[in-house]
Symmetry: C2
Subunit: 215 residues, 2 copies
């Protein structure tokens, strides 16, 4: 069986954009499968006591983030057009994504949403944007939007977000490889290596990754 990682992402997250646009290619090169898992960061931030994105609550950090994103997009050859609203409401996009995954084009839809949002500055809370993303993914906008409004899909997104919180996720993107959590686009390579069983050991310990090391 091919090694696998889970890719947890949130549509309002800038660094999730970077990860989403490269993960399949990078993982394929590494021989690792990717399971895409959209979730909502809002409820998790709220549970931590944040009323808004930390990038808005701490403007110095926010200014840095946009500049960092600019540099990283340039490096990755991705377009960047900062949307007027940040963070955007990604609830509807996440629901549509769950529908699209059930229809076989969830990745294409997700990448289309991110491209419209951060590459073209579009509002992903706007139904027209989501329709366009479904079309770009080769799907039927009417059907996807209708199913996205169903109780079943709403519940599934709520469950997926609850699972994220239970498993210790506190930011996006995050990767899980063999039960190990990696946070941030910067940790994609480490997660892929971990999935393949590659480990380094601390010089002062025999097996630092044994359970209950106290860390």
């Amino acid at each position: 069986m091919q090694p696998q990682i889970e890719f947890w992402y949130e549509f309002s997250s800038t660094y999730s954009y970077l990860a989403a646009m490269r993960i399949d290619q990078v993982a394929n090169r590494a021989g690792v499968d990717v399971r895409w898992r959209p979730f909502l960061l809002g409820p998790i931030f709220k549970a931590q006591g944040y009323s808004d994105s930390p990038y808005n609550l701490f403007p110095v950090k926010g200014r840095y983030m946009w500049r960092d994103l600019e540099r990283l997009c340039a490096k990755q050859r991705l377009p960047l057009l900062r949307p007027e609203t940040f963070p955007q409401n990604g609830v509807q996009a996440a629901r549509c994504a769950l529908v699209c995954f059930s229809l076989g084009y969830g990745r294409r839809f997700s990448r289309a949403v991110f491209s419209l949002e951060f590459g073209a500055g579009r509002d992903i809370a706007d139904e027209a944007t989501l329709r366009e993303a479904v079309k770009k993914a080769g799907g039927d906008p009417d059907m996807v939007l209708e199913r996205a409004g169903s109780q079943e899909i709403k519940d599934r997104l709520r469950e997926q977000t609850a699972e994220a919180e239970e498993r210790g996720l506190f930011g996006a993107p995050s990767f899980i490889a063999s039960g190990e959590l990696f946070w941030g686009n910067d940790r994609l390579d480490e997660a892929l290596a971990w999935a393949k069983g590659e480990r380094a050991y601390l010089p002062n310990e025999e097996d630092p990754y044994a359970p209950n090391t106290g860390y």
Copy 2:
């Protein structure tokens, strides 16, 4: 003239440990000079409204950080022994560092402090630890400790911390290359490349790094 980066670090910061133990070697290989600049993160966190390290305020993030550090130390072949107190009070260590830099062994002293703190779990607010670090650096503990208590050194550290805040630093380690800020041990390579004039450009802009792009 050789390109240069500034290395801003805080003695209580775990990721500053990782950066401090590798920066000279990595920068030397890249042909870039490093200017080491210790500062205090406490006053900057306080100005942001944090009463403690975010890793303590958000325990889920804190648990992740220690695990991440464990993995990264293993990769970097660095010992890791988590100190009882976190974050530690690094004021006295930073003052001593300024004295040691004026005497020509500030880097050796700084690395010794980090090694004792995170490699051996020692308390850097304890004078005995600082004396040991000065000795490891080849210096005279009595003289360094005495000078570290002078008004001149106290003022210099306060000024250095004020400069960090003015220049937009909000975390440690940070690197500044040709006026450009890079945050986090993960951005060392990017900072070195920037110092050497290596730039990537956004596909949708002619020169995204021109001033006043709005980001």
